[in-house]
């Protein structure tokens, strides 16, 4: 597809007609749309802010005809460059398509526009006693549409699943301008191929999701948390299986690795005995008020190797424990100014083996590495901390993070559990050329001229 360097007067006139007052072309206003949380930069020609699906249809008919790339953007929190216009094109912001159209208590279904913020949506559901569990770390900042196209995960995935498990249907504008509907509000639906879920995790490469039908469940009555300290990461990760063996399915199960615990110990104000605890598990269960104390007791019994435990029953008691988990991000920057964040997944039975291997990699490349994350589903966040101003250190950090991806795949895991591929990772590390070609052929059915987020994902 030939790239266009700038919009013609005629193009601008067209866009102004379709998006009156919502076309951004000034460099100062466009500046924020140049990058996303990957901190990579592109060169958008302009940004448009539709409020109605008809505007998107008109744009997509025109852009497809003109072969102009389209980059759909929620709130720009993507970590792998999915919102970045590496080829000059049009950024379509969903910021003004941000309405919760319906929260239906009878159907346990919500209908929303893509720009709705996930945390605000969750709060609106919970106000009605309903629950939308997917809780990516970006929940306060990201949009539902962005969560869907990246199949965002989060801490509760171990029990409830990821965003994919809550998408019943969607309406999509295709390149060319057609509006199609995949799935709908029915909780069961086997008619034809499941194209609604194909849209989930598609990284903006297939079409513009203009409306979402999301599954809701009853809000759990209460929750409780156990925090357990261990003498080593091997003991902490080794204890994970024991919890499941007891027949407990926690709603979250987080791990804090040795390097981070050491940093927290040094900074003080930790609830555990700093001389004994080198690694931590944070486990939350939810359910009814009557059964939770029993579940808690079983949970504590399932952690015989813990050198220390504490518990919190109910939100107020749990909050200080989860505050420790939220400290990880700021804490790790005490190690170095820059960070590569990886979201590799390994089969749950390989957790100890995986972190052993990551430790080996950190030594081989001589980099600072920390591990933490959602070990309940095998999703370990590996951060490599480095100083970007030192080219050698940066090179070693780049190589180390790729080695982590390779190691996870070699163990039967995935190089990305949550963030996606974007332009940061190599899909061929995990899938064959034949498999990638099939994906590209599927894309061509939706987007024959390749205008949707070109060069991303697969």
């Amino acid at each position: 597809m030939p790239a266009i360097a700038k919009l013609s007067d005629e193009d601008v006139k067209f866009l102004e007609t379709v998006f009156p007052g919502a076309l951004i072309t000034k460099p100062e206003e466009l500046n924020v749309y140049v990058s996303d949380a990957s901190l990579q930069s592109g060169s958008p020609l302009c940004c448009v802010l539709p409020e109605r699906v008809e505007q998107v249809q008109a744009l997509f008919a025109w852009a497809d005809e003109k072969r102009i790339p389209i980059y759909v953007r929620g709130r720009g929190t993507n970590l792998v460059g999915d919102c970045v216009a590496f080829k000059p094109g049009i950024v379509v912001s969903t910021a003004r398509m941000d309405h919760i159209l319906e929260i239906n208590k009878g159907d346990f279904v919500a209908v929303v526009e893509p720009g709705v913020n996930t945390a605000q949506f969750q709060a609106a559901c919970e106000a009605q006693g309903l629950y939308y569990p997917p809780d990516p770390a970006s929940v306060k900042g990201s949009s539902i549409g962005g969560n869907v196209v990246t199949c965002a995960g989060g801490m509760r995935a171990v029990k409830y699943g990821v965003t994919r498990d809550f998408v019943l249907g969607c309406e999509v504008v295709l390149p060319g301008g057609d509006l199609v509907k995949f799935g709908g509000r029915a909780h069961k639906n086997v008619v034809g191929l499941d194209l609604a879920r194909l849209m989930v995790g598609s990284e903006g490469t297939l079409g513009f999701i203009s409306k979402l039908y999301l599954k809701l469940i009853p809000k759990p009555e209460a929750s409780a948390t156990v925090m357990a300290g261990f003498g080593s990461y091997q003991e902490a990760l080794g204890a994970v299986g024991g919890v499941f063996d007891k027949g407990i399915l926690p709603c979250t199960m987080e791990y804090i690795g040795e390097r981070i615990v050491k940093l927290m110990n040094e900074q003080g104000n930790v609830p555990w005995p700093a001389d004994k605890v080198r690694s931590v598990l944070l486990i939350q269960v939810d359910g009814s008020r009557e059964t939770l104390p029993i579940e808690m007791r079983r949970l504590e019994e399932s952690l015989p190797t813990a050198v220390w435990t504490t518990r919190g029953l109910g939100k107020d008691e749990e909050e200080p424990l989860w505050e420790i988990r939220r400290r990880i991000n700021p804490v790790v920057f005490a190690l170095a100014p820059n960070k590569h964040g990886d979201d590799a997944v390994v089969p749950r039975g390989s957790l100890v083996k995986a972190v052993d291997e990551f430790v080996r990699i950190s030594k081989e490349y001589n980099v600072i590495m920390v591990t933490y994350g959602h070990v309940g589903d095998g999703n370990i966040h590996v951060n490599v901390l480095y100083n970007a101003e030192d080219p050698d250190e940066k090179r070693r950090a780049d190589e180390a993070i790729h080695a982590v991806s390779r190691a996870a795949v070699a163990m039967g895991g995935s190089e990305s559990g949550e963030h996606g591929i974007g332009v940061v990772k190599d899909v061929l590390l995990q899938i064959s050329r034949r498999e990638r070609d099939l994906m590209r052929q599927v894309k061509a059915c939706f987007d024959p001229h390749g205008i949707m987020n070109p060069g991303k994902g697969y």
């Binding site: 100062e28 206003e29 500046n31 949380a37 720009g76």
Partner: protein, 378 residues
């Protein structure tokens, strides 16, 4: 380690009153960090005037810094940016605040006489503020002291009234002083206190801010470093910032200052109050931005002594000091949204001089807003 830049996590979107109003990413705090990063570069491709115009879409509420994992503050950054190239707005603001003894009472009486249509657009908003300077009709007290105990006995306290109270609402100062005295405090003379300086800083006038802060710090020093009670959330915010201003307080003084600058409500809660017969069953409350979410001590105290408080749903009233001349339309729209989120049928209380005037200047027909001191019987 040096303060690192914005990670574009987007946490600031939901707490930003301007993004919530306009719903465009370019006005978000995240966008402003990127804009100022780029605009401050030596050979920036961005136009400084356009950049500043966009950066002025900020109510300076500070909520973004509070939620940012790196505590990056757009208002702070914006103050520095404004200071780099001051314009007529800064000069006007310096004159307006510096000359408040003369200008404010004059504006209060002249504003109703001047035809709104003859004013330049930028000053129209100021006229509304001037109109709001007139005191609302007095109300029977809602709240009174319920015991004769003197919990503040032996404490030396000086009241920091702030510019608005000093020039336009002296009754607030009289009432606050009387309450402190009834609770047993040794109320010292506040003579010499001036503007807290916060508004100068915000306008990009750091020298004027430091000068104001130093003068106030000197009064406090001379008085023997007493407790400083404030009646305005914005003044409290401005005063609490002194330890970060260069050359205002010594290191030892800074710790003392931080401990001793307190809101009046934190002292009043040591005594028992009770609702009067004339108190309404419900009343609306606007929580000032300078009380960060969950930290509003005035609201916590009011809730404990006067049932029926209904908090407004908007994030900001849009006062924002110099915002009124930098971006009057935004100031107005934020105020309108703020009123939409308040139960305007009820009387509205707040605890910030700026919020009181701003809400009053954009109040719907028949709605009334007061500082909570207006309903307390001294």
């Amino acid at each position: 380690m040096a303060k690192r830049g914005c990670t574009q996590c987007g946490n600031c979107f939901n707490v930003c009153p301007v993004f919530s109003l306009i719903r465009r990413e370019e006005v978000s705090p995240k966008a402003k960090h990127g804009l100022m990063d780029e605009g401050w570069k030596e050979n920036s491709r961005l136009n400084w005037t356009s950049m500043l115009r966009l950066a002025n879409f900020c109510a300076s509420c500070g909520r973004c810094a509070n939620i940012c994992p790196r505590h990056l503050s757009v208002p702070e950054r914006l103050n520095q940016t404004r200071a780099r190239r001051p314009g007529w707005q800064q000069r006007f603001w310096k004159l307006w605040i510096g000359g408040r003894k003369v200008f404010w009472p004059a504006a209060k009486y002249a504003a109703p006489l001047w035809p709104h249509s003859l004013l330049p657009e930028k000053l129209g908003c100021m006229q509304n503020s001037a109109l709001a300077m007139k005191e609302p009709a007095k109300t029977a007290p809602w709240l009174k002291l319920a015991d004769a105990s003197r919990p503040l006995e032996g404490l030396s306290i000086v009241l920091f009234g702030g510019c608005t109270a000093e020039r336009l609402r002296p009754a607030w100062i009289e009432k606050a002083s009387a309450l402190l005295a009834r609770l047993g405090a040794n109320v010292l003379s506040a003579k010499g206190f001036g503007c807290c300086g916060g508004t100068f800083n915000h306008a990009g006038l750091p020298e004027a801010a430091s000068k104001a802060a130093s003068a106030n710090a000197e009064v406090w020093r001379t008085l023997g470093r007493p407790i400083v009670a404030t009646i305005c959330a914005s003044c409290l915010h401005g005063l609490k910032d002194y330890p970060h201003l260069e050359g205002v307080l010594s290191e030892a003084e800074a710790a003392d200052w931080t401990a001793k600058v307190v809101p009046l409500s934190s002292l009043l809660k040591k005594a028992s109050f009770e609702a009067c017969a004339g108190a309404p069953a419900t009343y609306a409350y606007h929580s000032p931005c300078h009380w960060l979410p969950g930290k509003d001590e005035d609201m916590a105290w009011l809730k404990s002594v006067l049932p029926g408080l209904r908090k407004g749903s908007a994030l900001c009233c849009g006062f924002g000091g110099v915002l009124q001349i930098m971006n009057p339309e935004l100031s107005r729209d934020l105020a309108t949204k703020c009123w939409d989120g308040l139960d305007a049928r009820a009387e509205v209380l707040t605890g910030c001089s700026g919020c009181t005037l701003q809400l009053a200047s954009h109040a719907p027909e028949g709605a009334r807003v007061r500082h909570w001191l207006d309903v307390v019987d001294a």
